[in-house]
């Protein structure tokens, strides 16, 4: 069984520095796998966008740029509060860790709330892919592909945020027990890295889904 001593050093490491370096490398390695995971989706996006530029343009216009931009701001804000939480942990200020982490969670939930509003609007406009999909009165059409990718990509992203929020509850519980010290705060740093990654994924999703299509060719006549 692995066991941990009073300073937080696990039995199989030589010192805290080795332990911290291992955790950091592990987290970066994990984020690389995450990049490949989203990479599959981005790959599919690029292929279909090249095949059906018009459908992409049409689909993109259905998305609410205001809400998308709002969410971008919210998420960047949450990255800031997360960075502050990490800094607090590095200084062993557990009360501040609780405060900033909580704020990050709140911003995360604001993001998810806005997303729900957007999803609901798509539902009302019959833009959920599947048997009930309608685009400007037509059944089928390549726009459905756009929305399929829109929901899968933003949905996967939202799922990552929910996991992040769950991890933050764990951080808050640990901070409430004053567990973070200047020597031992790897958890917060790792979760911080993860949260910034989730943020960066959105920074790619927002222009690809909401913005790019708007600057396409002259629109087709209706």
């Amino acid at each position: 069984m692995s066991s941990v001593d009073a300073t937080g050093l696990a039995h199989h490491f030589e010192d805290l520095e080795q332990q911290h370096e291992s955790a950091t490398l592990g987290m970066w390695a994990f984020l690389i796998t995450e990049i490949m995971f989203f990479g599959g989706l981005f790959g599919a996006y690029v292929v279909y966008r090249t095949m059906y530029p018009e459908a992409w343009e049409n689909g993109s216009k259905e998305l609410d740029v205001f809400l998308g931009a709002l969410n971008t701001t919210v998420l960047i804000g949450s990255s800031l509060t997360m960075a502050l939480a990490v800094r607090s942990a590095q200084h062993g200020k557990n009360r501040q860790v609780i405060g900033f982490t909580f704020l990050t969670m709140v911003l995360g939930f604001v993001f998810l709330g806005v997303k729900i509003v957007e999803y609901h609007a798509k539902w009302e406009h019959h833009l959920i892919p599947g048997p009930h999909f309608m685009f400007e009165g037509h059944l089928g059409g390549h726009e459905e592909l756009f929305f399929a990718l829109y929901f899968v990509m933003t949905g996967t992203h939202a799922f990552h945020m929910i996991i992040g929020a769950g991890l933050m509850i764990w951080v808050i519980l640990k901070a409430a027990r004053n567990e973070y010290t200047p020597q031992h705060h790897s958890h917060v740093e790792m979760i911080g890295l993860y949260w910034h990654f989730v943020d960066i994924v959105w920074i790619f999703l927002f222009p690809l889904l909401y913005l790019l299509g708007r600057h396409g060719h002259a629109s087709i006549g209706h």
Partner: protein, 561 residues
């Protein structure tokens, strides 16, 4: 380690046999340190997790092997008289899924890698022991889901899950199987991640990169492939599952979706996955050939770099699975030339192993017999891979038994042979007992003969034009099919033998010394079986891998007289 020494650990072990008339009192090791289910199921000791993987994977071999035997029995006659077509299709699918995802991919990394990676680099454990345990349970969850899918009627898409058959037309448990593959992928990812960090951060003092045993290089390269490839198959099967459940259209041509995109995404992982299977086997080979030739490996650096080269180049060859699928000719030409390139580092490895034997002190133990069998079978598999990489040739044999024979030579002839060689080699280290040597040699011989008898006729069948996944086939091919079925019976016997005598040896085998083979490597400097923390004190490495002295000879203490 505070509370893990069980009160009865020091009690005499009635199950141990007496040697030379004296009762043996083994010192505390990772096996006897604690008993009871909990001490195993919740263990974060890499060695115990390796043993749990070994048991689980052996069970999966039996499952996948039974499917194989059913397939071969059915194919003994041209008419589909033993099984219904529907059942036959489900059985070859489950044979593929079980063997690929639950044996070939995790086999060497999760069992031998888990056991040996920390020990070979002089560490007490992997960097993340709890994540290691988690990866085992995720693996178990993947198996459970697969078995549920089988119980609920099975899957009939082939292990390749090609769309739109899998996403729209198949009338079987595709979604459940897709979830199972998705889940199992995370088990691989966590193992790979653990190995990467461990090799980077946990090496003992003096263990520089170029003193690492080649087995470690192989595990490292494999872990890189796992980390970069597995997430892509995860998202791909997730899309198939979503398409199936919600009809979102991503691979459905009715909505403009492209079924061939699925093939690209699938093979982006699944071709490198072949290297996930074979690279660790190559790592095992380097250990076996050096230990039983008492020699340094011929060309250490080129062996290490060719491992990395295979891992890297292996990511750019996936399109050779799509020569007749409708990718552009120019893409095909690129994929063909890169496929040719990946053959070169494999050829280098084969020649270097052979050269390692030159002027060695060659001891034909069971592991060495398996190593020699590997050289023969893998060479055939590798050479026929070049056949398939030649585009004009591939058109004719694509999706025929030629391909089936080729990948069985690489995966079964390569990976499984090395796996059995490795299991025999490290068996005394893992369990402290010797296996019966002559039985081992007999099983290696049976496997080699049975394997060739099973799969060589399939090359001819493939060139004659017999498509794979065929339940019925024209009568003129029966002779070769019967030959193949007969070989499969022999092959099955060969694999069953170790599954009987290895467990038998746990109780009745001769007690193993620290280093029954006289081999180099940190794992042979510690007890058999090792203690929980492997090393009493951190080892300091002062020499290169395989630093056998000039004129080394085997003591042959393990030889059965």
């Amino acid at each position: 380690m505070s509370s893990t020494v069980a009160p009865h650990a020091a009690a005499p072990r009635p199950d141990l046999p007496a040697t030379d008339g004296h009762a043996v009192e083994p010192r505390e090791n990772y096996l006897n340190v604690d008993y009871g289910w909990k001490s195993w199921l919740l263990s974060t000791d890499h060695k115990r997790i390796a043993v749990m993987y070994l048991i689980t994977i052996m069970f999966m071999i039996l499952v996948g092997g039974s499917f194989a035997i059913l397939l071969r029995l059915e194919l003994a006659t041209p008419a589909g008289d033993l099984l219904q077509s529907e059942t036959y299709n489900k059985i070859f699918t489950m044979h593929g899924v079980v063997m690929v995802f639950f044996f070939l991919i995790p086999g060497i990394p999760a069992v031998l890698g888990n056991f040996l990676v920390p020990i070979m680099i002089g560490a007490k454990d992997l960097a993340f022991p709890k994540i290691n345990l988690l990866s085992y349970y995720i693996f178990l969850a993947g198996i459970t889901l697969t078995l549920i899918a089988v119980a609920m009627g099975g899957v009939d898409t082939g292990w390749t899950f090609y769309t739109p058959y899998s996403s729209t037309y198949a009338n079987s448990q595709v979604a459940l199987a897709a979830i199972a593959v998705f889940v199992t992928g995370f088990s691989s990812i966590l193992t790979g991640l653990n190995f990467i960090v461990t090799v980077h951060k946990m090496r003992a003092p003096g263990m520089t990169w170029f003193r690492l045993p080649l087995f470690i290089w192989a595990q490292y390269a494999t872990s890189l492939i796992i980390m970069l490839g597995t997430p892509v198959i995860a998202i791909t099967v997730a899309l198939v599952g979503l398409e199936r459940l919600f009809h979102i259209g991503i691979f459905d041509p009715t909505y403009g979706g492209d079924p061939v995109l699925f093939q690209h995404m699938f093979w982006f992982y699944s071709h490198p996955a072949v290297y996930i299977m074979i690279l660790p086997a190559m790592g095992v080979m380097s250990e076996l050939v050096t230990a039983f030739s008492k020699k340094r490996v011929f060309g250490y650096h080129i062996m290490a770099f060719s491992t990395l080269a295979i891992a890297v180049i292996g990511f750019f060859v996936w399109g050779h699975h799509l020569f007749v699928s409708g990718q552009s000719t120019y893409a095909g030409v690129m994929f063909s030339v890169i496929t040719m390139l990946v053959a070169v580092p494999s050829a280098i490895k084969v020649f270097n192993w052979v050269s390692t034997m030159y002027r060695g002190d060659v001891w034909l133990t069971t592991p060495m017999c398996f190593a020699i069998a590997f050289l023969g079978l893998f060479t055939v598999g590798g050479l026929t891979g070049i056949f398939l990489g030649a585009m004009g040739f591939d058109i004719h044999v694509h999706d025929t038994y030629f391909v089936v024979a080729h990948f069985h030579y690489v995966m079964v002839g390569g990976m499984v042979t090395a796996f059995f060689g490795g299991i025999h080699f490290w068996w005394p280290k893992m369990f402290g007992r010797m296996y019966p040597e002559n039985m081992g040699r007999i099983s290696a011989a049976i496997i080699f003969i049975g394997f060739n008898l099973t799969f060589f006729p399939q090359f001819i069948l493939g060139y004659m034009g017999m498509p794979r996944r065929y339940h019925f086939y024209p009568e003129e091919w029966q002779v070769l099919n019967v030959l193949s079925t007969a070989g499969a019976t022999l092959l099955g016997t060969g694999y069953l033998l170790p599954m009987i005598y290895l467990p038998w040896s746990l109780k009745f085998g001769k007690v193993a010394s620290k280093n029954p083979w006289g081999a180099k490597g940190l794992e042979w400097q510690i007890d058999s079986p090792p203690t929980t923390f492997n090393f009493d004190k951190v080892p300091i490495v002062t020499e290169e891998a395989y630093a056998y002295p000039e004129g080394s000879r085997h003591q042959r203490e393990a030889e059965v007289v």
